[in-house]
Point group: C2
DNA sequence: ACAAGCTTTTGAACATGTTCAAAAACAACT
DNA sequence: AGTTGTTTTTGAACATGTTCAAAAGCTTGT
């Protein structure tokens, strides 16, 4: 199914690069599998030897973006930042990295929310969580102990929400999404502080009970 | 494009019914436009005369479900219910009505979140809002005045969230979605009560500023 | 060098969503 | 009844995602 030899890996890389270039130029729907094959100087069938489907190519592209997001956000999480700053920076960086791919929103969502339990989805999830753990761990003051444990998963949930919003955000330059982030970051920070209050805590518990078993 | 005469309307209805039946039996992806045409005793081209695309059929189906949800929830909103009960009943009814169409989740989402500004989307939005206005208006005690105005839009937002969750919920019988509703309803009610507190109010303001201009 | 068994590549087919020009059916008017 | 214009219907084509059996290349062991 996938590549085993050096030559195979090379072809695969070639196809992925071509696909990326065409996607950028012609958009997702506007790029045909035949075009990807032709521009790569490879047969159509061969393309399917390396990628199960057109969506699978997007899936891989998406995973790359998640990786980029993580590594680009990491150095921003410097000591001295409070939670709000960390959250805002990470979310903003995510929008920044996604911005050239707005047209893929729906396709991304299909892969991001597919509910697939395969390895790729699992590593993606782990990658995302790692970032949000770092966001929490480097924030000062540290969030209340009672919530510290679950906060990364909550933040990941928030990110998914922002991502969804962005995917269907048709405002120019995703202005509305950027405003959302600007508003959400302080809201989160406040909520976290308030999590000491039993009423707020119980609401958070409701939400946490959702992220715990899955998603 | 669409039907003008009685016969045309008849053909359209026939196609829609056949599509619905086939969707239920074979699933969305499993139902081909050719099958719909064949089973209706109509040519393929004619099907496209009445429905712009396969998605357009789903779009119409979805609108019908929204309508059903509204009219089925209405009688449940009896005097004496508090907000939590009303919210829970409406959300549960929504899951109940959607349940036979779980497989359409992604397709529904495409139409529900397409961001299209056409008439169909606008009437759907109005229909939804009307229900949530009723949910708020019939609840006792009435929600705090400061938030009463915006609450319907907030609740509609919550419903969209639940809908998204449901669409990608792969648990059997959408158990997780049902639990979500069970947890969300009291959380909402508590939040509304707490909205008198400035801190909570400011968070809600952040969210409200999002639903106000659009979505 | 050769055989056996992988991996890679190809080319042709298939299935299905969608388009379109032309035919048929129908309605309205004279 | 006949003409004219509109709505409905058809059938054939097209575009593109996907599958598959067979050919070609490569690697490894003899």
């Amino acid at each position: 199914m996938t590549q085993q030899t050096a030559k195979g890996a090379e072809t695969r890389r070639l196809l992925l690069n071509t696909a990326l270039r065409l996607f950028a130029k012609e958009g997702f729907a506007g790029t045909t599998m035949r075009a990807i094959a032709r521009e790569s100087g490879v047969s159509l069938g061969n393309t399917y030897y390396y990628f199960e489907s057109k969506d699978a190519i997007v899936h891989e592209l998406f995973r790359n973006l998640v990786e980029q997001h993580r590594s680009a956000s990491w150095p921003l999480l410097v000591p001295g930042n409070n939670l709000e700053t960390n959250v805002r920076l990470s979310l903003e960086k995510s929008l920044e990295i996604l911005s050239p791919f707005h047209e893929f929103g729906p396709a991304f969502i299909r892969t991001a929310f597919s509910g697939a339990q395969d390895e790729l989805a699992e590593t993606r999830r782990a990658l995302e969580l790692e970032l949000w753990r770092q966001v929490v761990a480097t924030a000062r003051p540290l969030p209340p102990l009672a919530i510290r444990q679950d906060l990364p998963q909550l933040l990941r949930l928030v990110q998914r929400g922002v991502f969804l919003f962005w995917a269907y955000d048709s405002s120019v330059d995703a202005k509305r999404s950027r405003r959302l982030v600007k508003n959400v970051a302080p809201a989160i920070a406040r909520l976290v502080v308030l999590s000491r209050m039993p009423v707020v805590r119980s609401i958070l518990d409701d939400v946490i009970s959702l992220v715990r078993p899955a998603t």
